[in-house]
């Protein structure tokens, strides 16, 4: 009998083809699912159709990720002791992107040992990554196969270069300067929000549903710019040196490129986008990469002997993350100006022809792929004029995609005429819409992957959502035709709250919904609707008002956004102050002018960047064209009003003032002093680091350490229902008030927001119980519930650090402690570290010795180039030096969660709690992101029954559970951190992974420190005791990523070195008895990464957490 799941993929009838996998998989038995997996795997190996293969891969991923784990636990019983190991060889293949080999290795393990949760997690990861890789490969092939792009991959020698610069650009003006070709390009906004249907993969499989309403707009920052104008400007001119001179005036970056290899080195500086454009436009064609040829020879061929090109980009300080596709339109503009200059577009000036616009789009796609980024296919919309409907198209004969995918890579653009949207409607739209940037800048990559995955699985709710979004787009088009702007507002609001959030709940966030709520409260009926732009909300957004209220709304929105940002900036990653834009629909699209003689001027920021360098140079050495340009610029400054402030700017650049740092709220030195920074210890660590006594390699246990998996009797299985006597004992102890919960909240969620430095505890991560909830509120809700069950509210302690204390304190005050009924205490940190510039040795160890996830080919190239640049930075900045070139809070670091429990002893919090509650005997300590951990009476009873000093909860390992585990190290059962593992493969022999939830017997812990309850009042004795134990716990050097924000929403990520001590190393101390309990995954899993959220929501984990909470 043919496989039902395979039939779903091969069906031609849309009613069958679009059925949800989940609906089919849920009623199936374990044996049936495993049989279907075998069929699907065989099918995807033999199928030659791209989308059949990809859909089968995503089916396999979904079965292993969401369906098999629950069937396995039901079928095999809960014994975790039979947990199957994940073969390390497969993991290595996965890291190296050898997905087929990885799948074979995991399947071999499954066949040999039987199916298991761990192996399924590995298979899920491998199938998912292979699915995305297959799709990315196809997009890449299609981009290369677009007619007009292919020749660039064949050209490998300057002598073969077929492009020549247009002669108009080579004619010197009387003043001795070359003309300047200027391209001005609007950005685009998406009136419908496309339901992310502009993702290539969707357009290529479901072209009928890939439609967006895209508008080209001019932009200005309200209150800063006089009027809206095309925000993107690019310039090209000939120079009298055989170099490529690239300048990004917004980023203040410029470089003279003399070697071909540098053109392909994208992450070396901030000029990656300009380089990608030079390549994608065919001036330095991609085929010449790695040829060893000479850039000057190539330029001689294209421009003329001894000559070069200068390319300049300017986005007029429009902030990053605007959701208006500024960077893609900048790339398109750069490609366009380069194509015009080399005769690849008919006209040097004015608009482009339709065929040329399509080629610019294809080249921009190529450029994005080269630069390792990727936008949607509507993003170059600014190249086209006015309003247009962009649609996917079925692949036909003659298309490179024919026979491979249903749709074409390249969409079609239908420009809307006055019948579709009259001039009056366009004017009314402009008069009603307030366009803003909320200040948040987030990576939308994971969202785009989620959308693709859900589409391919046809998950029922999401598929319905997609149909609804398509219907809403039709309604928006109809409303445009009818000239009903109010209706458009209602539709875009409906789109945001219904289909978009059904497809991707993470499209919204607490900040956005706060803004909408406040605007609605203030403007009532005059607020016509909210409009989400692009990938996710929080950055670029639109608010539609009755036209007569727009001016007032612009002013108020600025205030409302700034206020909301102030309230939430500790909790959410804001990259900049919110701004309100002025905008106008641009009816011309991209447009070029050739500027001659005195008019051939570049943006003033260009001169601010370059002129000081020219003035500092010896006048005798200045080449004649540069002297001519200085003359021209000087003359323009005297007569042009827009250049009137230039002299002051140049003066400031030539004679910069010393920064006093007076504008910082708190200096680094003050922060260090306030938070008990130990300078002596810091210098010791620096010396050890520089001498190589500590470092990433030295974190590891000796290579001859005997590390093996624990024996079955070393753990207690608590994955099933716990015995009633344990539950009763736990309940009784809870009722007696013997337990307090300790939430570790000193950290800033480096992985959660890629180093953005938000207080993770306060991050409103998900909607639970109908509202966005923070981690801290969720933990309190669990304690509230258990306290009520026991009839005695639990004390709940939250450990904080210099980074989180004030924010958490203020937040809890604002929230009135969420009406928590028991004592809620903060335990402030008592230790702080100053980050160091990393050693090259450690960076190389991290990037070259440790197993690293290899990226897609082009992205990996970009990453390698970035790593080289960062190593250069570390060397230049001084290895082992203090890291101080950032805002002070980003220069400091917490010193690891080992200190958080001793801090309770040192800061008097435990003493005061014990004074009021002498019956308190135990603590349950857990990480901020272990959302399933609660003071469950059964687990408490189990801890009591163990009579141990410490009871650690562990879970069975899945592929994503990285970083150590429970092991026998030289015969001793203990937890080992990943940092300390001498060989990566050892980790894969360990069945259990640390959840970092730990039950502590207070008196036994005090005894380990050589203390009694009475000693807690003696600060000197406590401090000495903590220092003694600390000395016996290893110090690890770690490399963390920190963001440095600058400019207008720009962010750089730097690797910095810091040290930490970890609580798990307490398990190595012989004087305290430690027990290990295996708990269900839903209890022990941690949410480290925002990309985990969707799976967490879909696999039932979120519902489980909700069941543990009482919000009121």
């Amino acid at each position: 009998m043919p496989s039902r799941f395979v039939s779903l993929i091969t069906a031609t009838d849309p009613a069958v083809r679009n059925q949800s996998l989940d609906a089919l998989a849920q009623p199936a038995s374990l044996a049936e699912l495993l049989a279907e997996c075998r069929e699907l795997d065989a099918f995807r190996r033999r199928s030659e159709n791209l989308y059949e293969r990809v859909r089968a891969l995503f089916f396999l991923y979904a079965l292993h990720r969401f369906h098999l784990p629950s069937k396995l636990s039901q079928a095999a019983g809960p014994s975790p002791l039979r947990h199957r190991l994940i073969p390390f060889a497969g993991f290595e293949h996965l890291l190296q992107r050898r997905f087929e080999e990885a799948i074979d290795a995991f399947l071999a393990a499954q066949n040999a040992d039987g199916p298991g949760d761990g192996v399924s997690s590995a298979l899920a990861a491998a199938y998912q990554q292979l699915g995305f890789q297959t799709l990315a490969d196809q997009v890449r092939r299609s981009v290369r196969a677009v007619p007009g792009n292919q020749w660039m991959f064949r050209m490998g020698h300057p002598a073969d270069h077929p492009l020549r610069l247009r002669p108009e650009l080579l004619r010197l003006a009387e003043d001795g300067t070359f003309p300047i070709l200027r391209e001005r390009t609007p950005v685009r906004m998406d009136l419908s929000h496309s339901g992310w249907s502009d993702i290539f993969f969707l357009g290529m499989d479901f072209p009928e549903g890939a439609r967006v309403l895209n508008i080209s707009i001019d932009l200005g920052v309200h209150g800063r710019d006089r009027e809206p104008r095309p925000p993107v400007e690019t310039y090209l001119r000939v120079i009298d040196e055989p170099v490529l001179r690239l300048t990004s005036v917004d980023l203040g970056a410029t470089a003279d490129i003399r070697h071909l290899a540098e053109v392909f080195d994208f992450a070396r500086d901030y000029l990656g986008l300009l380089k990608a454009a030079v390549i994608a436009a065919g001036i330095v064609p991609p085929g010449i990469e790695g040829s060893g040829q000479n850039l000057a020879d190539l330029l001689a061929r294209v421009v003329g002997p001894g000559r070069g090109l200068e390319l300049i980009s300017n986005v007029n300080n429009i902030p990053k993350g605007s959701r208006l596709a500024v960077s893609t339109n900048l790339l398109a503009s750069l490609v366009s100006v380069c194509m015009r200059a080399t005769g690849q577009a008919k006209s040097l000036e004015g608009p482009l022809e339709e065929s040329e616009r399509r080629l610019v789009l294809a080249r921009a796609l190529l450029g994005e792929w080269l630069g390792g980024s990727g936008g949607g296919w509507q993003d170059s919309g600014g190249v086209w004029p006015g309003m247009k409907l962009i649609c996917g198209g079925l692949a036909g004969r003659g298309d490179a995609e024919f026979g491979i995918s249903r749709g074409r890579l390249m969409p079609t653009h239908q420009i809307l005429g006055s019948n579709d949207a009259s001039a009056q409607t366009r004017r009314e739209l402009q008069e009603s819409l307030v366009l803003v940037h909320g200040g948040m800048a987030q990576n939308v990559g994971p969202i785009l992957e989620m959308v693709t995955e859900k589409y391919l699985l046809r998950s029922a709710a999401e598929w319905r959502g997609r149909q609804e979004a398509i219907r809403i787009l039709d309604d928006v088009i109809a409303a445009l035709r009818a000239g009903d702007v109010r209706r458009i507002g209602a539709l875009t609001t409906q789109n945001f709250f219904a289909p978009l959030q059904t497809i991707i709940p993470w499209a919204s966030n607490h900040f956005t919904e706060t803004l909408i709520r406040r605007v609605r409260a203030e403007f009532a009926d005059n607020f016509w609707g909210f409009w989400m732009l692009g990938g996710m909300s929080g950055g670029g957004m639109g608010f539609i008002f009755a036209p007569e209220h727009k001016a007032h709304a612009q002013a108020r929105l600025q205030a409302i956004m700034s206020q909301a940002k102030r309230e939430l900036e500790s909790a959410l990653p804001f990259a900049m102050e919110p701004v309100v834009y002025d905008f106008a629909i641009n009816e011309r699209g991209t447009w070029a002018d050739l500027l001659h003689g005195p008019d051939a001027l570049l943006p003033q920021t260009y001169y601010a960047l370059h002129v000081p360098r020219w003035l500092r140079a010896d006048p005798q050495t200045l080449p004649a064209p540069r002297r001519a340009e200085l003359d021209k610029f000087g003359a323009a400054c005297r007569v042009r009003p827009e250049l009137s402030g230039m002299m002051q700017i140049l003066f400031d650049r030539l004679l910069p003032r010393i920064k006093t740092g007076g504008d910082q709220p708190q200096s680094l030195a003050e922060l260090l002093a306030q938070n008990g920074f130990d300078r002596v210890q810091h210098e010791q660590i620096r010396a050890d680091l520089k001498n190589g006594r500590i470092g990433l390699a030295q974190n590891r246990l000796p290579a001859n350490a005997d590390i093996r998996d624990v024996n079955d009797p070393d753990v207690v299985d608590a994955t099933g229902p716990l015995a009633e006597d344990l539950r009763a004992a736990g309940r009784a102890a809870l009722a007696r008030g013997e337990l307090a919960v300790v939430t570790l909240a000193a950290g800033v969620g480096s992985r959660w927001t890629q180093g953005a430095g938000v207080v993770k505890a306060l991050h409103p991560f998900c909607k639970l119980g109908g509202a966005h909830r923070t981690f801290i509120e969720t933990h309190l809700a669990k304690s509230r519930r258990v306290g009520r069950l026991a009839g005695n509210p639990l004390p709940h302690l939250v450990t904080t650090s210099y980074l989180t204390h004030t924010a958490i304190e203020e937040f809890l005050q604002r929230q009135h402690n969420h009406d928590y009924p028991g004592p809620l205490l903060l335990s402030p940190g008592r230790a702080i570290g100053l980050r160091l510039i990393p050693m090259e040795r450690d960076l190389r160890f991290l990037w070259e010795e440790m197993p690293q996830q290899l990226l897609d080919e082009q992205q990996q190239k970009v990453r390698n180039s970035l790593h080289a640049a960062l190593i250069h930075w570390a060397r230049a900045a001084g290895e082992g030096g203090d890291y101080t070139d950032n805002v002070p809070p980003q220069c400091l670091h917490p010193v690891g969660h080992w200190f958080e429990v001793p801090n309770l002893l040192r800061n008097g919090v435990l003493a005061s709690l014990l004074a009021g509650r002498p019956q308190l005997r135990h603590l349950m300590v857990h990480n901020i992101d272990t959302l399933g951990a609660d003071p469950d009476p059964g687990m408490f009873g189990l801890h009591l029954a163990q009579e141990s000093g410490l009871t650690f909860e562990v879970i069975t390992r899945r592929l994503e559970d990285h970083g150590g585990g429970l092991a026998r190290v030289n015969g001793q059962v203990r937890l080992v951190e990943g940092l300390a593992m001498p060989r990566e493969e050892d980790e894969f022999t360990l069945r259990f992974y640390n959840s970092n939830t730990c039950w502590i017997d207070v008196d036994k812990l005090l005894a380990t420190f050589g203390l009694t309850r009475d000693d807690l009042a003696n600060q000197v004795k406590v401090a000495a005791a903590v220092r003694t134990v600390a000395a016996r716990v290893p110090t690890y050097i770690t490399i963390k990523e920190v963001k440095k924000r600058w400019g207008h929403g720009q962010e750089d990520v730097f690797p910095v070195a810091q040290f930490e001590k970890l609580w798990v190393d307490m398990t190595a101390l012989p004087e305290i008895t430690t027990r290990f309990v295996v708990v269900p995954r839903r209890r022990g899993q941690q949410l480290k990464d925002q990309a985990q959220l969707d799976g967490w929501l879909r696999d039932g984990s979120a519902a489980h957490v909700e069941s543990l909470c009482e919000w009121q």
């Binding site: 064949r154 270069h161 065919g282 065929s355």
Partner: protein, 281 residues
């Protein structure tokens, strides 16, 4: 179609002296490049030849034509307004007859007994339409040639129906509009410098010349592209090669090619081998 007339353009800024250069022809006889071209035309059975020259150049060309001087007509191109303009200058010479058109800076070496012009004229006579000789050319040479887009004519090897003609296209445009099935990747059909054209071309060029006036820049390719829309127009790959004597070392390479295809092949080959052997030392 009976082709009795030929037009040879030698008025271009960089062409004016090239046909005057002396070479050794395939029979081992020293003569000017112009004579070699005239003999190419004569071998195709054409007796009426018109040279389009720069004003004042007539005497030099008459002199270089030697024994053939008496059969030449001369037309002056008063101003350098483009190649199409040069051809249009010979409109009254062509009258209502088809004509063979050659450029003065190319020499041709055939790989068979019939020379290149002969091959082309025979195809045009048989097909009874305009035919341009073409050669598959790598895309890196596109900046130098007019290039055609089209399809094989009735699956006949080497014969194509021309759909469009673009002067010196970029590879980007070539890939989008000039790909001809059957050629190697990155190769396009570029002009050989030799055409048989019907009088319709003169009419089209006449319109272009009157539109452009003194602005100049009158190319032949747009007229040929218009011709393709108006009437049947073919391209033919000949068994032979063209040599641009205006290119760097072009004259040397052309001389070697002619010599190696002719009477003195062994002598030249021996000299070349000796030269190479000496260089190797």
């Amino acid at each position: 179609m009976d082709i009795k007339k030929a037009i040879l353009t030698v008025a271009g800024k960089n062409q004016r002296t090239l046909p005057l250069q002396t070479l050794v022809d395939r029979n081992g006889v020293q003569q000017s490049a112009l004579c070699i071209l005239i003999e190419e035309i004569l071998a195709a059975g054409i007796r009426d030849i018109c040279l389009v020259v720069h004003p004042g150049d007539q005497a030099a060309f008459r002199n270089a034509a030697g024994a053939h001087a008496s059969r030449l007509d001369f037309v002056e191109q008063p101003e350098p307004l483009g190649y199409g303009h040069a051809v249009a200058c010979a409109r009254s010479f062509a009258g209502e007859d088809p004509f063979l058109l050659l450029v003065g800076d190319h020499l041709y070496v055939s790989r068979q007994a019939k020379n290149c012009a002969q091959q082309l004229v025979e195809v045009a006579a048989a097909e009874n339409c305009s035919v341009s000789a073409v050669q598959a050319t790598h895309e890196s040479k596109l900046p130098f040639y007019g290039t055609i887009g089209g399809q094989l004519e009735g699956n006949r090897a080497g014969l194509y129906r021309i759909e469009t003609v673009v002067e010196k296209p970029t590879p980007t445009q070539a890939e989008q509009t000039l790909v001809v099935p059957g050629l190697r990747a990155g190769h396009y059909l570029c002009f050989f410098g030799m055409h048989v054209l019907t009088p319709a071309v003169m009419e089209l060029l006449g319109e272009t010349v009157s539109r452009a006036g003194q602005a100049g820049g009158i190319a032949l390719s747009p007229a040929l592209s218009a011709l393709a829309e108006r009437e049947r127009y073919l391209a033919c790959e000949l068994l032979g090669r063209r040599y641009d004597i205006g290119a760097k070392y072009g004259l040397l390479v052309a001389q070697l090619a002619i010599a190696l295809a002719g009477h003195d092949r062994d002598e030249v080959l021996t000299d070349l081998v000796e030269l190479l052997a000496q260089q190797a030392r």
